[in-house]
């Protein structure tokens, strides 16, 4: 890589190139805004841009802010700064890039999409029959999934109203725990000096009341694990919508599990329950598939350890316990979860049948490892859920 290719900073060519590269990264989903690009320009002037490595490192430290973006950055950097011609073509966004296409197999889909020209992307969107033919087997499978997702995605108007009513009328009071932050209160303890002085100021400098420092109460963090396997299909959607509305305000992490674990926390940030369900449906690749609870929990243990906060988390497992996997592994994972949580509550929709006993293998393990089992098969039972939870946590 030579300086001449990049252009001279003074002539403005460098600025243009960095800007084009920044835009490309943005198209690949990296959070790069114009102030970042400006900083990138300052950065490349602080290093020796004759050295390709230094240029790369400088741009990376400025334009990348998440570990998962590093691979994409690397691929795009290589694509752009290997051949000035490609770079020029891309930035002008005029022609499809033959060289980039040849190497497509090895690149991440995100990089690929960013590198393809807008026109090309449109064409692909409009007429994908060739693609479909090639991916025959995979498509038929995902078509099935998509059909099932279709009725998962939207709440009917009546369901929507019901969820709204439930969420406002029976707010699920997340139990509270004393946080380490303190505020002024009445109980004896260390004095809250600032408050003492404020009160004294009101009474002419005399100390009549002595407020002390008491812990602020905060809702317990909640971890919700929803079974989205075939047997749970009818319940999962309403429960997700209900919990989305009812646990608003609490620190929550939400995971769906079926044949694999999906993190739904991001989807739960959506305000509207329909938005949340659409995002969740997109995120869950295996809706209404099989259940492999032990494997899913293992992923939770190894990759999302931070979701469970210092043994304070209230864990809600929503499942019918019809698991076909290895029971010993399930037992191990659930006992880990039990130990890591403040309370682990199993919400079981099958509990509606009179005389139900957790006899299926998975259900037996769940019953043994949970602090409590509660029924959630219809919405009226949800009203009782709040009270039951409160009772349970008082113990």
């Amino acid at each position: 890589m030579s300086v001449s290719m990049l252009g001279d900073a003074r002539s403005g060519k460098l600025a243009e190139n960095i800007m084009g590269f920044g835009r490309l990264l943005r198209r690949a989903g990296l959070p790069v805004d114009s102030s970042r690009i400006a900083l990138g320009l300052q950065a490349v002037q602080a290093v020796d841009i004759g050295s390709r490595d230094q240029l790369r490192w400088a741009l990376e430290s400025v334009l990348v802010s998440r570990e998962q973006d590093r691979v994409v950055f690397g691929e795009l950097f290589d694509a752009i700064f290997r051949n000035p011609e490609i770079a020029k073509q891309l930035m002008a966004q005029l022609l499809p890039v033959s060289k980039a296409q040849k190497e497509s197999a090895r690149r991440r889909p995100r990089s690929q999409e960013a590198l393809s020209s807008p026109a090309q992307r449109q064409r692909e969107d409009a007429a994908p029959p060739k693609e479909e033919h090639r991916l025959d087997a995979a498509m038929s499978m995902s078509d099935q999934q998509r059909l099932k997702q279709a009725d998962f995605e939207m709440l009917s108007a009546s369901e929507y109203r019901l969820v709204q009513r439930l969420a406002t009328q029976i707010a699920l009071p997340i139990p509270q725990w004393p946080s380490r932050r303190r505020m002024a209160g009445r109980r004896a303890g260390a004095l809250h000096w600032a408050a003492c002085l404020r009160r004294a100021a009101q009474t002419g400098g005399e100390f009549i009341e002595l407020p002390s420092r008491v812990p602020r109460l905060r809702p317990l963090p909640v971890v919700i694990l929803v079974d989205v396997s075939g047997s749970m299909e009818r319940y999962a959607r309403m429960l997700l919508a209900f919990l989305h509305a009812a646990t608003r305000g609490a620190a929550r992490r939400v995971f769906a599990f079926g044949s694999q674990l999906t993190d739904l926390t991001r989807a739960f940030r959506a305000e509207d329950p329909d938005d949340m369900l659409v995002q969740a449906a997109h995120a869950i690749p295996d809706f209404a598939g099989g259940t492999r609870m032990a494997e899913s929990l293992k992923v939770l243990r190894t990759e999302h350890r931070g979701a469970l906060i210092g043994r304070r988390s209230l864990v809600l497992v929503i499942s019918d316990g019809l698991d076909t996997g290895d029971l010993q592994a399930l037992d191990y994972e659930l006992s880990w979860l039990h130990k890591q949580s403040h309370r682990m509550v199993w919400l079981n929709p099958l509990l509606r049948f009179d005389g139900y006993a957790p006899l299926a293998g998975g259900a037996r393990v769940l019953a043994r490892q949970s602090h409590a089992m509660l029924a959630v098969h219809n919405l009226s039972r949800l009203e009782e859920l709040a009270e039951a939870l409160r009772q349970l946590l008082r113990r």
Partner: protein, 300 residues
């Protein structure tokens, strides 16, 4: 440019190396830019890859004091920024009540001598050339603290209602570290330059082990570096929940020296596994892989 400040990437690598810290080009570039552009450097990575060590090494290179703020759940402004020494203020109030006029009294009790500066204020008040500020494990503090940090890192000034605004005497060189127990807010990331720290390659690890455990024989330290490096690479890495960091390999080398080990064998690996791994499953997994890991590399 401040005298004594390394002014190129290779200068930084050399200066850090003289302090016993082995940085690669990517890290040195990020560091160089952070100092040059006056931005905080956010270091992310697994525990034990040398995030905190970097700040210490930089403070030694520049001969500047290091001010460290360890974050934790429930960290409050009183612990991070400043607090009035209320007890002393009250004492003064009682003594002076008879003699002084109220306005005079108020001026007296809000005197800087009653202000207890915590790390973030200390970093601002430091005289030139300033300090190296390390805000360690930001991910452990809560979101409200992050929001406060955003303002602090943007302006490098804080306002104390009773005293007015305190600006930085000299810009601190700021490092933030995160173990990624949760994602930091994008706004905080936007203020910072970002560097993800990987485990070091074998040569760099060997240099680190040699530096920290000089009493280990050359053969032993290269065996340690090779073993740990292999363990962190595929397909072995997948077998473990938590891989050992540099800190662990240094500790391990020390343990091996303490046991008078001359070279690694399955038995000694087994008996010292607790130094490398802190989880029952991982120790068990190591047991079944030891022989593979100790097998000599095929000639490359």
């Amino acid at each position: 440019m401040t005298p004594g400040l390394p002014d190129s990437i290779s200068d930084w690598i050399g200066a850090l190396q003289a302090q016993g810290y082995f940085a690669d080009g990517r890290l040195a570039t990020a560091l160089h830019l952070a100092v040059r552009l006056g931005r905080p450097l956010l270091l992310e990575g697994e525990p034990g890859v040398g995030k905190t060590e970097l700040a210490k090494a930089v403070s030694r290179v520049l001969g500047r004091e290091m001010v460290r703020l360890q974050c934790y759940d429930g960290l409050e402004q009183r612990d991070a920024l400043y607090e009035w020494n209320h007890a002393a203020q009250l004492l003064h109030l009682r003594l002076a009540q008879q003699s002084s006029a109220p306005e005079q009294l108020e001026r007296e009790i809000y005197d800087p001598q009653y202000l207890i500066a915590r790390p973030l204020l200390k970093a601002l008040q430091a005289q030139p050339p300033g300090v190296v500020l390390l805000i360690d494990e930001v991910d452990r503090a809560d979101e409200p603290f992050e929001a406060f940090l955003l303002e602090y890192l943007g302006e490098y000034q804080v306002s104390i209602p009773e005293l007015g605004t305190v600006g930085a005497e000299a810009m601190p060189i700021t490092f933030l570290t995160s173990n990624r127990t949760r994602d930091l807010h994008d706004a905080v990331k936007r203020r910072c330059l970002f560097h993800f720290m990987d485990y070091p390659d074998r040569d760099r690890e060997l240099a680190i082990v040699r530096q920290h455990v000089p009493e280990a024989s050359a053969q032993l330290s290269s065996q340690v570096a090779a073993f740990v490096h292999k363990l962190r690479s595929q397909p072995y890495a997948d077998a473990f929940v938590r891989l050992p960091g540099i800190a662990e390999s240094v500790e391990w080398a020390k343990a091996l020296v303490a046991l008078n080990t001359v070279h690694l064998d399955p038995e000694v690996v087994d008996s010292t596994a607790g130094v490398l791994f802190k989880q029952k499953e991982d120790v068990a997994a190591l047991g079944s892989l030891t022989n593979d890991l100790l097998a000599p590399e095929k000639a490359a």
